[in-house]
């Protein structure tokens, strides 16, 4: 599909838009919402990439938590500067993911899902029981906040939410660049084929297992980085923040956006954040019905909009074209081509 040239600049414009956003939406409340949105986008991209190789990782929040604990402990116990602890917070979840993958990725989808649930329990149990290191149920408080003093700059993360926003934005942009580059490459084609035609893929010399390992490890690496931003941001981390169902809302976002493209993951996550924002403006009497509304959205999207918002917008465009007489034909074989063989 050829696009007009100006449309290829939309992502760039969007990134610039996000960079200047704090200039006119600088209330801590909105920065807080945007920050959480960016962290969720990082997690959603990970969920999408693991999904693309055929699995649901229900333990995504626990890898996020692992990143949080890593950064907090490295800063508080080993006195690492934040900027050294930050990448480590990605590496450790990735290593745990690789070890877990040795068992889990050899299983079928449902078993993998179950094993990630078990892994989630296992690591939370570690957080809760190893009180000396992880602080048990009370967690770690207060997590020190980073401060940059260089080149005449003094950026104190403790006094403003804006530096966190930019840190999260840069991390999210890097994450998205990595994934978009990945999924637009030939390797991306390979990933999309995993889970559907695995035997055939193996038969062309590709180690499907290695590719799955990479997908899982990379998603957990970025989840860890997101966690590393969350820990000093919220200043208190406890095991209960990284429960199973936090992951479900991420999966829900990916689904609503459209599970057949990484862009859908981003759009769905933004949609969910917008929905939550709308919910806060509704009267408190409706609050009980909100989980129900989410449940209905989930079921209806799965039943009637399997391609999510992204697919819907395509369908709407097709419909408009039909109405205006410019019909777009579904992809089909050209009879003449077939005869020519």
């Amino acid at each position: 599909m050829k696009l007009p040239k100006w449309q290829t600049y939309i992502p760039l414009l969007f990134i610039i838009f996000m960079f200047v956003l704090p200039l006119f939406m600088n209330s801590p409340r909105y920065l807080n919402l945007l920050n959480q949105l960016l962290l969720n986008i990082i997690l959603a991209m990970g969920v999408y990439s693991v999904w693309s190789v055929g699995f649901i990782n229900a333990a995504q929040p626990i890898f996020y938590g692992l990143g949080s604990y890593t950064v907090a402990l490295l800063m508080m116990r080993a006195h690492f500067p934040f900027w050294l602890a930050f990448p480590m917070a990605g590496v450790i979840p990735a290593v745990v993911a690789l070890l877990f993958g040795l068992i889990g990725l050899k299983m079928k989808g449902a078993y993998f899902l179950f094993l990630t649930i078990a892994l989630d329990g296992l690591i939370s149990w570690l957080f809760i029981s190893w009180k000396g290191l992880f602080g048990g149920q009370l967690g770690i408080f207060p997590v020190p906040q980073p401060r940059i003093q260089a080149f005449g700059l003094d950026i104190n993360f403790a006094t403003s939410r804006t530096p966190y926003y930019y840190l999260a934005l840069v991390t999210a942009v890097i994450t998205c660049l990595v994934y978009f580059k990945m999924f637009n490459s030939r390797l991306g084609r390979v990933w999309e084929s995993i889970g559907k035609t695995e035997d055939l893929l193996a038969n062309t010399g590709i180690s499907v297992f290695t590719q799955k390992q990479i997908a899982l490890a990379v998603s957990c690496f970025f989840a860890g980085l997101a966690g590393a931003i969350w820990a000093p941001y919220i200043t208190i981390i406890t095991p209960s923040q990284f429960g199973l169902w936090q992951g479900i809302t991420i999966v829900l976002g990916v689904l609503v956006g459209g599970i057949y493209s990484p862009l859908g993951a981003i759009i769905g996550t933004i949609f969910m954040a917008a929905l939550n924002l709308v919910f806060t403006y509704l009267p408190s009497q409706t609050v009980q019905y909100q989980p129900m509304a989410l449940g209905f959205i989930l079921v209806l999207v799965l039943l009637f909009m399997p391609t999510g918002i992204l697919g819907l917008s395509g369908r709407v465009q097709n419909r408009i074209k039909e109405l205006t007489g410019r019909k777009t034909a579904p992809p089909s074989i050209n009879k003449d081509d077939v005869k020519a063989v």
Partner: protein, 411 residues
Amino acid sequence: MKKGLCSFLILLLAVTLLAGLVTGCSSSTTASKEQVITIGVDTPLTGGAAPWGLSEMHGVTLAADDFNSAGGLTIGDTHYTLKVEALDDAYDTAKATNNINQMAYTDGVKFMFTFQTEGSLALAPTLTNMKILNFTVVNDDRIIAQPADAYTYRTYMGFSVQANDYLAWMKKTYPNDKSIAVLTTNDTNGNVTEASTKAAAAAAGLTYLAPVFYDTGTADFSPFVTKILNEKPDIILTIGDPTGDVGLIAKTLNGMGFKGIHATGIVGAADLLKIAGQAPIEGMLTLNMPLIPGGQVSSAVLGLPAREVAHSGSAWGTAYCCTWDFYSEAGIMFDAMKQAKSVDPTVVKAKIDQSGAKFNYAAINNGIATFGSPASNAIFGANGGHQVTNSWPIDIIKNGKDTIGTIITPK
């Protein structure tokens, strides 16, 4: 695919602008003779902790209604009334921080009630900076260990404050029972309870046996009860456990032949009766306020269940466990406003911090609440002023009904 993105971005921009518009409108209030003060409540209205959150929302709302119908507050020629705005956090850290931020920054709330542990802890410094008075019910004692000028107060007597009196009373009332063991959830709540009981047992001269923790969501308590009975305790404490768990524990203890004392927290005998039946709960100790006429229960809380149903409409038509408790706690804040004759959080805070100040604790006739009592100072030292101590009952269940054993009033 990219076209989808394009139209989506336009939509997003529209939503952003709309959100800005809405907030812009809501912040424009004009000074007049009639002023409405917004009381913000961040609490779990959905999910597993919803029974408590709904109780809190109803309790605070009904207390505000009573404040208004009692004439509100008139300062100079301005008449102030209260309005409650409740937000749901589903007991999730991210949602709680969002809600508290929204109330503080966008809605300009100056008086707040918070529930969620991590959110309350993380935002306590912000609330102090913004001079927003916050009453919280977080069970985690680190909420008290804030700087002395912190604007966050705990209006819930964590078991840390009650334990000494509770255990001392048991020791006095049941002199033959000498050992105590805790059976509680393995979460923040349970761990805090366990630590408090251990200290109080030493003070009361009871033998403290190894505690048993269970996972939240347990439905078969036999293994845990087997474990705790193996230590042969005279008293088993299940304080802080959810109502359903206490009922099942009572049933299981009875089934395994436990003859000692089963003491628990704010749990109604009526609820226990439905779950466990009469025999297992006979003689249990609770900290509940029996909502039956007579005794020392104030008439203010007796009518709460009916009012709650009327207030919430049919969809909410259930009286939850501890509305009376939240009602009384909210009453402390509103009484402080009345006593300070001000709706300025700094002035109200000064009143609360004033040594020897006593506030009305609505649930009990002539009940009082105070901050920085000798009891809370003994536990929290210099920060004791951020912990409330109020009148509270110890009940004994007789014939399936709560009967007040004693009322403990802070000194």
